[in-house]
C-alpha cells in the first residue's frame, strides 16, 4: 500500500513566531495524495489551506513560518522516501521545481517582470536537468505547445507584462511541469482569472494530469472548482481538517456542519430558474426567514442611461499625442426602476465598473445622457451634483481600501449625514446606531477602527455608510467579490433585505453570474464596452441569445462533478481588445428585441 501513496502528511503543524509567542496556523493535518490523483484542499480565508500547501516544500519558511510538528513523507522518483520536514536545504532544492512543481494564485505577479518568459522557463531546466540554453529553449517550446499557447517561439522572447492573465497562468503551469514532476501543487490557480479563462485553465490542468500522469494538489476556496476537478477533497476550517472524502460523497452527503454551511452558501446557477424575483440564500445555522415579502421591482423609472460613452486616450509618439482610444464604455443604454436591481455582468475590461462610476460622475463620461428622477445628471453643476449624490451612493469592492483606517467607524458612517447636514447631536448618534442595527453590526463597533474588523464586517460598514443619507439608488461595484463565500451570502442577504425594507434600487456590478442570478431582477451583459444582451434575469440567463452570453454562462463552474471540463481547452492567441485608433467612431449598436424587454446586440461586422 505504501507504493501507492505519493506524498503523505501526518499531524502536520505549522507555526508563525510572533511577539506574544508562536501562533499556530495549522495543526493536526493528515492527508495523502496518490499518483495521478487530484486532491482538493478547500477552505475559506484563514483556514490554513495555503499554509499547508506551502509547507510541503518547506516554502513556508520564506514567509516566516516554521513546521513545528508532524511529518511529510514523499516517495521520490528513485524509489526512496524522504521526510520533507527534516530535509536539508540542499535536498529541498533538488525537489522543488524538479519532483514537485507549484503554481500560484496571481499570474500577474507570480512571474518575474524583469526577465523574459524564455529565461524564466529555462532557469529551472538548467538548474535541475543541466540543459544548456539551446536545449532548454527547445524544451520550453515543447512545454508552451503542451499548454496550448499560440506562437510559442515569440512568447519565449516576450516579457510577462506582454501576456494576458490566462497566458501567464499557462506559462506558470508550463514552468511548473518543466522537469516532469510527479506532483503539481496549485494554490488557487484560477481565483484571479475571469470565469471564461478559469474554465479553460481548469480544463487544461485536467488534461495535463492525463498527459503527464502528475498528481495534483489543488488549493481552492471555490466549491464549484472542487466539484469539477477533485477526486478526493480535504475540507479545512480554522487551521484544522474537518472532513475528508471522495468528491461525490462530500458534495452529496457532507458530514461536518462547516462543510454543509459552505455548500449551502454557494449560489448555484440555475437555482433561481422559474422564480421571477430575487430571493435570499439559505444560511445554515440561521433560521431561514424566507423573503419577508416578494422583492418585486417597481414600475416607475428611476434612472435612465442613454448612449453613454467613455474613452481613455492611449498616448504615444514624440509629442504624446493621442494615438488610440480605449473604448471603455461604448454607447451604453439602460434604465432602472424604483425598487429594482439591474445587474451589470461582464469580465475584467468589459467596462462595467466605468459605467457605474460614470453614472455617479466619479468619472466624467465623454457623451451620453444620464437621467435620475427626470433630472439630467450630466448637466448639473457641482452644487447640484453634490445634492444629487444624497440619493446616489456607491459601495466598492475592496472593504479594506474603501474605509479610512484612521477614523472610528461611527465617524465614517456619520460623515455623509454631517456633510449633508441631515442630523446632528444626539439625533445623529441615534441615526448612526440605527444604521449599525440595520446592517446587523453590534453597536459596540461604533467606536472601533476598521483594522479590528473582518472583511465581511467592513463591507457592512461600507453599506451602512452608503445608506446613511437615505439614498434611492446604490451602485454596488463588485461589492461581494472580495468576500469569503459564507460571508458573501450574508452580505447578499443583507442587500436584499434592505431592498425589501427601504425600496432601494441597485446597479449590481459583478463578474459572478451565479451571484447575479440570486439578486437581479434584470441583467445586462457587457463585453468590450458594449451591452451585448439585456433583459429580465430569466430571459437572459435561461434563454441567452448572444454568443458571448452563452460562453459566459457555459463557463460558470457548477457543483456537478460530472460536468465536462476539458471541452473548453483551446489554443490561446490574441485577446480581443477595445482599443481603436484615434478618430475611429463605431456605428451605434443595433438591437433585436427577442421578447418583451429582452434585447440582443446584432452581430457586428468586423
Amino acid at each position: 500500500m505504501a507504493e501507492s501513496v505519493l506524498i503523505r502528511t501526518d499531524n502536520l503543524k505549522v507555526q508563525f513566531p510572533s511577539k506574544t509567542g508562536p501562533v499556530t496556523a495549522v495543526e493536526d493535518i493528515s492527508f495523502s495524495v496518490r499518483p495521478g490523483e487530484i486532491v482538493c484542499i478547500v477552505g475559506e480565508s484563514g483556514s490554513g489551506k495555503s499554509v499547508t500547501s506551502f509547507s510541503l516544500m518547506q516554502l513556508v519558511k520564506f514567509n516566516g513560518g516554521m513546521i513545528s510538528g508532524g511529518a511529510i513523507t514523499l516517495h521520490r522518483r528513485d524509489g526512496t522516501t524522504v521526510d520533507l520536514r527534516n530535509a536539508s536545504e540542499d535536498q529541498m532544492r533538488g525537489i522543488r521545481g524538479n519532483e514537485i512543481g507549484m503554481i500560484f494564485q496571481e499570474p500577474m505577479t507570480a512571474l518575474n517582470p524583469a526577465f523574459t518568459v524564455g529565461w524564466q522557463m529555462a532557469e529551472g531546466l538548467r538548474i535541475h536537468m543541466g540543459l544548456n540554453r539551446v536545449q532548454a529553449d527547445r524544451r520550453s517550446l515543447e512545454l508552451l505547445r503542451m499548454v496550448r499557447i499560440s506562437e510559442p517561439e515569440n512568447r519565449l522572447r516576450q516579457y510577462p507584462h506582454e501576456l494576458s492573465g490566462g497566458m501567464r497562468q499557462r506559462v506558470m503551469i508550463a514552468m511548473a511541469l518543466a522537469c516532469k514532476p510527479h506532483l503539481l501543487i496549485a494554490d488557487e490557480p484560477t481565483t484571479a482569472l475571469d470565469v471564461t479563462v478559469q474554465a479553460e485553465i481548469l480544463g487544461l490542468i485536467d488534461l495535463l494530469r492525463e498527459e503527464t500522469g502528475a498528481a495534483i494538489l489543488l488549493i481552492t476556496h471555490d466549491m464549484a472548482v472542487v466539484a469539477q476537478m477533485a477526486d478526493r477533497v480535504v475540507v479545512m476550517f480554522r487551521g484544522r481538517k474537518v472532513e475528508e472524502g471522495p468528491v461525490r460523497r462530500i458534495l452529496s452527503e457532507p458530514q461536518h456542519e462547516y462543510t454543509k454551511a459552505l455548500l449551502a452558501a454557494v449560489p448555484k446557477l440555475g437555482d433561481m430558474s422559474q422564480k421571477p424575483n430575487p430571493e435570499p440564500l439559505k444560511i445554515v445555522g440561521e433560521r431561514y426567514r424566507g423573503p419577508a415579502k416578494p422583492l418585486i421591482a417597481g414600475k416607475r423609472q428611476l434612472l435612465t442611461v442613454s448612449g453613454l460613452v467613455k474613452r481613455f486616450p492611449v498616448r504615444g509618439g514624440l509629442f504624446g499625442r493621442t494615438t488610440a482610444n480605449v473604448h471603455a464604455v461604448e454607447n451604453v443604454s439602460f434604465g432602472i426602476n424604483d425598487n429594482e436591481t439591474l445587474a451589470l455582468v461582464g469580465e475584467s475590461g468589459s467596462g462595467k465598473s466605468v459605467t457605474g462610476r460614470s453614472i455617479l460622475r466619479l468619472e466624467e463620461p465623454d457623451s451620453g445622457k444620464v437621467e435620475f428622477e427626470n433630472r439630467n445628471v450630466l448637466a448639473l453643476d457641482s452644487t447640484e451634483m453634490r445634492d444629487l449624490r444624497r440619493n446616489m451612493q456607491m459601495v466598492f469592492q475592496d472593504p479594506f481600501g474603501s474605509l479610512n483606517p484612521h477614523k472610528q467607524l461611527f465617524d465614517q458612517v456619520a460623515e455623509p449625514i454631517r456633510n449633508f447636514r441631515l442630523d446632528h447631536g444626539s439625533a445623529l448618534e441615534d441615526r448612526v446606531a440605527n444604521l449599525f442595527d440595520r446592517v446587523h453590526l453590534p453597536r459596540s463597533f461604533l467606536r472601533r477602527y476598521p483594522v479590528e474588523l473582518s472583511g465581511g464586517q467592513r463591507q457592512r460598514v461600507a453599506i451602512a455608510r452608503a445608506l446613511a443619507p437615505n439614498p434611492k439608488f446604490i451602485v454596488a461595484d463588485e461589492a461581494v467579490s472580495a468576500l469569503d463565500v459564507s460571508v458573501q451570502a450574508q452580505v447578499l442577504n443583507l442587500m436584499l433585505e434592505l431592498q425589501a425594507d427601504l425600496g432601494i434600487s441597485y446597479l449590481f456590478i459583478s463578474h459572478d453570474v451565479a451571484v447575479v442570478e440570486r439578486v437581479a431582477h434584470r441583467v445586462a451583459v457587457m463585453y468590450l464596452g458594449r451591452i451585448v444582451e439585456i433583459g429580465s434575469r430569466q430571459d437572459v440567463l435561461e434563454n441567452p441569445q448572444h454568443g458571448y452570453t452563452k460562453t459566459l454562462i457555459a463557463a460558470v463552474p457548477t457543483l456537478d462533478p460530472d460536468a465536462d471540463v476539458r471541452g473548453r481547452v483551446k489554443t490561446l492567441s490574441k485577446v480581443p481588445s477595445a482599443i481603436f485608433p484615434a478618430g475611429y467612431e463605431p456605428e451605434p449598436p443595433e438591437y433585436d428585441e427577442i421578447s418583451n424587454g429582452h434585447y440582443v446586440l446584432k452581430n457586428e461586422k468586423q
Binding site: 514567509n63 512543481g101 500560484f104 518575474n112 524583469a114 526577465f115 538548474i127 507584462h161 509618439g317
Partner: protein, 321 residues
C-alpha cells in the same frame, strides 16, 4: 527610438537654459570688468579689459555671440589664467581658452568620482541586500547604523581622520596630491561614505519590497538557490531606485567635491570653480558650470537609458491600462 530623441532634445533644452542663466547671472552681479579688477582699478585698465572682452556691446549681442561661440566649442578666453600681470587689449592673442583649462581638470574629477563610486556601489549594494535578506537581524541593525553614519558624517572631519590615521600614523598612504594610484584612495573613501549610506538605505528598502512579492516564491518553488533569488531575481527588479540613487550621487561628485578636493589638494573641477570664483574670472566660471551641467545631464540621460534596460515595461514606452 522616439523616446531617445525626445530625451536628447529635452537635455539640449536644459543645457541651453543653463547656459543662458549662467550668462545673465554673470552680468547681473555687476560690471564684470570691475568685479575682476577690483575697486582700485584705473579707468584705462577697465576700458582695456572691456574692449578686449567685448563688454561694451549691447548685452543681447554679447549673449548671441556667446551662444554662437559655444556651439563651435569656443567658451572664451580666461581673463586671468596664465597671466602674471593684468591682461591688456591683446587678450585674445595671449590668453588661454577656458575650455582647455576645464578639460585639463576633467580627468582628475572623473578619476576621483569613478574611484569613489567604485567603493560605494558594491559596498552599498551588498550592505543593503544583506540587510534586506535578513530583516531585523543583527546584520540589518549594523547596516542601518552604518548607513546612517555614512549619510550624516561630516566630510572634512572624516577626511582629516583618515589622513591622521592612514597617512600620518600608519604612513601607508600620502596625505594628499595627485599622480599615483595611492593618492586617490583616501579622497575616494572620504567621498564614498555618503553614497555608501544612501545606496545601502535605498537598496535595503527596494529589495525588501521585492522579496515580499509573489514571483520570489515562484523562484523558490523552482528550486533556485537562495542567493540567486536575492541577487538576481529581486535585485534586478529593485535596480531602478538604486540606479537613480547612484546617478544622483554621481552627479553630486561631478559637480565638484569641493571640500574633499581642498583637503587632499586634488586638482579637480571643484577646486577650479573655487579658484575662478575667488579671482572673478567670469569666462572660466561660466565654462566650468556649463561643462559640469553637461556632465550631469549626461549622467541623467544614462540613468534613463539604464531604466529601459532594467525594466522591460518602460522599454516599450507604454504603461498598462
Amino acid at each position: 527610438m522616439a523616446y531617445l530623441i525626445k530625451r536628447i532634445v529635452n537635455s539640449a533644452i536644459i543645457l541651453f537654459l543653463t547656459v543662458s542663466f549662467v550668462f545673465f547671472a554673470g552680468r547681473l552681479i555687476g560690471d564684470p570688468a570691475l568685479n575682476m579688477l577690483g575697486p582700485g582699478a584705473s579707468d584705462v585698465a577697465l576700458e582695456n579689459l572691456r574692449r578686449a572682452a567685448g563688454l561694451n556691446d549691447p548685452i543681447l549681442i554679447q549673449y548671441f555671440r556667446y551662444v554662437v561661440n559655444l556651439l563651435s566649442g569656443d567658451f572664451g578666453i580666461s581673463y586671468r589664467y596664465g597671466f602674471s600681470v593684468l591682461p591688456s587689449e591683446r587678450l585674445s592673442e595671449i590668453g588661454q581658452p577656458v575650455i582647455d583649462i576645464v578639460l585639463e581638470r576633467l580627468p582628475a574629477t572623473f578619476f576621483l568620482a569613478a574611484a569613489a563610486m567604485g567603493f560605494a556601489v558594491p559596498i552599498g549594494v551588498f550592505m543593503g541586500v544583506t540587510a534586506a535578506a535578513y530583516p531585523r537581524s543583527a546584520a540589518d541593525r549594523i547596516v542601518t547604523v552604518l548607513s546612517l553614519a555614512g549619510v550624516s558624517i561630516v566630510q572634512f572631519w572624516l577626511g582629516l581622520m583618515l589622513i591622521v590615521f592612514f597617512a600620518v600614523q600608519l604612513g601607508w598612504l600620502p596625505t594628499g596630491g595627485y599622480g599615483e594610484w595611492q593618492h586617490v584612495i583616501l579622497p575616494a573613501l572620504t567621498l564614498a561614505a555618503r553614497p555608501i549610506g544612501r545606496i545601502a538605505q535605498v537598496t535595503r528598502s527596494a529589495v525588501l519590497e521585492e522579496l515580499a512579492k509573489p514571483y520570489i516564491m515562484t523562484a523558490h518553488a523552482k528550486g533556485v538557490p537562495v542567493n540567486r533569488v536575492v541577487y538576481l531575481h529581486s535585485l534586478k527588479n529593485a535596480a531602478i531606485p538604486i540606479v537613480t540613487m547612484i546617478g544622483d550621487e554621481l552627479s553630486a561628485l561631478l559637480t565638484g567635491a569641493i571640500l574633499v578636493e581642498k583637503i587632499f589638494a586634488w586638482p579637480g573641477i571643484g577646486l577650479l570653480i573655487i579658484d575662478s570664483l575667488s579671482r572673478s574670472d567670469l569666462p572660466l566660471i561660466q565654462a566650468s558650470i556649463v561643462v559640469v551641467a553637461a556632465l550631469v545631464v549626461c549622467v541623467n540621460l544614462l540613468v534613463d537609458l539604464a531604466y529601459r534596460l532594467l525594466n522591460p515595461r518602460i522599454r516599450f514606452g507604454k504603461t498598462e491600462a
